[in-house]
Symmetry: C2
Subunit: 327 residues, 2 copies
């Protein structure tokens, strides 16, 4: 229905000027008489008017578009964040542009530049990677929020969990369960999130009397956490003194580890229990043997949008740490 109805159409229908209609469309109602407001609203309704975003964007120098740059949409956790962000943005009147950077700095920069040209009203970086353009962008005045991973090249609003605390919680559980040989599997070229989870785990174990050197570490390379888990756990399972409890810093790493365990004939959770940090719903279906720290990804969207709007209002960007829990 809206296609050729412009402000002018409404103005003609209501018998007022386009200026007046524009003001009312934008909520500037107190400067108009109640009768006019009503007449204009009726006219809008009657002709089915919806503002043309191009006209508005041209004038304002900014669109209702918000770009989400995600490192890897094939990762279910990121797909869930993207999905919840989409819903929250829509709710708030924005439209989501989605870009998959494949964790590659050049591609991230290419997108960043393209989104600048598009005059997006905000930028959501899910697992951002360090890149020249990222630093530049921060200075451009576009509201930006960093999800899951902190801004690798500067300050910035962060939405995520307390990663150190999550790692520590797993350490507590292992010790409480009487595990004797804890291990952790993580990506070698890790993000702030991975690193913090590992550090929180190791530090808490140390505080509880397990020396850092006694904690086995399995590192894997590559973008795919499935592969990281598979590769990173290989050495652990070949040892004579195998671990009896392994922390995987993501669900996908746990899936990769499970495949390795299967091939090595090692049972999970007995004799080796596995805990991951993510807690994606899929676990219950395909990995019932897996215990997890559950991250509330479905609520990330709302937090991200709230953060974006806080920046837009000029508030000082404060971290938004969400609660996690075993489950």
């Amino acid at each position: 229905m809206p296609a050729d109805v412009s402000l002018a159409t409404v103005a003609a229908q209501a018998g007022v000027s386009v200026s007046t209609v524009s003001r009312i469309v934008n909520g500037e109602t107190r400067r108009a008489s109640p009768a006019t407001v009503q007449r204009v609203r009726d006219a809008i309704e009657a002709v089915g008017y919806r503002p043309n975003p191009a006209g508005r964007a041209l004038r304002r120098g900014e669109t209702q578009l918000v770009a989400v740059l995600a490192a890897n949409l094939d990762n279910p956790a990121m797909a869930t964040i993207a999905s919840s962000t989409e819903a929250a943005l829509r709710e708030a009147g924005y439209v989501m542009i989605l870009c998959d950077t494949h964790d590659r700095p050049e591609l991230q920069d290419e997108y960043l530049a393209a989104m600048r040209v598009q005059r997006v009203g905000g930028l959501v970086m899910i697992a951002a990677v360090a890149s020249p353009g990222l630093a530049e962008m921060a200075g451009a005045g576009v509201p930006m929020v960093f999800v899951t991973r902190r801004n690798p090249v500067g300050p910035g609003l962060f939405v995520g969990i307390d990663d150190r605390a999550a790692g520590a919680a797993v350490a507590d559980r292992f010790v409480a369960a009487g595990c004797r040989r804890p291990a952790v599997v993580f990506p070698r070229r890790g993000s702030s999130a991975s690193r913090d989870r590992v550090a929180g785990f190791v530090d808490r174990l140390a505080a509880l009397g397990v020396a850092s050197e006694a904690v086995l570490r399995g590192e894997g390379d590559g973008l795919s956490h499935l592969q990281v888990g598979y590769d990173g756990s290989a050495a652990l399972f070949e040892r004579a003194d195998r671990p009896d409890a392994v922390l995987c810093v993501s669900d996908q790493i746990a899936y990769g580890l499970a495949r390795r365990a299967r091939e090595a004939g090692i049972g999970i959770p007995d004799p080796c229990c596995v805990v991951s940090i993510d807690g994606t719903p899929l676990n219950q279906w395909v990995a019932p043997w897996l215990a997890s720290v559950r991250i509330p990804y479905p609520v990330y969207g709302a937090e991200i949008v709230a953060g974006l709007e806080a920046i837009r209002r000029g508030e000082a960007p404060a971290e938004r740490l969400l609660p996690f829990a075993f489950g």
Copy 2:
């Protein structure tokens, strides 16, 4: 870098009019002298000019935006399609807007209307549902392609596989393997894809001597195929004459069935072998017991964009059926 550089900036720099610059930017080079073309190109380079999409959209009445409406981004197959579509669109100079309809007609219509207002240059419907607005949209002249599910309310360009043939291929395999009690699990309120897979399976079995009545059917409700598999397989496993071979019309249904089998203490693939249609990479990691017909989702993106551009060129929309294979 581009932010306040407009056609006028370039024109001043090159010492020509904006008309001339505009033409050259748009590839209209043969009407200009080679010297001018060169001068303008240098100027563009020098000032880092990139056309402002808002100005262009306002003038042309159409943007470089293409909207992808997906029924459920939490479904890995759809996430993979979305991801490959994003890459192909970017390659072709478009920008992807992503919307999650949650398989709900009202939400789909809301998005359709919003995308119309945005003046998107194309619409990609991944698993579209029937809705009033969908029929309307077809008449609006926006290029549209239907992925996975055919247009439920009319004609339209389809990108997918030959679903009947995929079902039939599974029937062939079951018969060749000497299975005696085949079954199929599918969503009760299914799409064209589900229905065709089931029909292809049943018809081929009939042709091979297994009467349609002898094929056990498990149906499940709801949007989640995980749940569909869990619910739909319950009755199958309670029977005295349990199936020895089950076709699940999607990977997720197979995951759901597996959970049920686990709880019922039934082994897979022995005594009951399971085949699904999807063949997502995750299978190898979390469901090594699962055989699949593999659908080449990573190439969907390129096909979708090719289809969009064919429509745009005014070609008659022909189906684009992609090859599938066991693996």
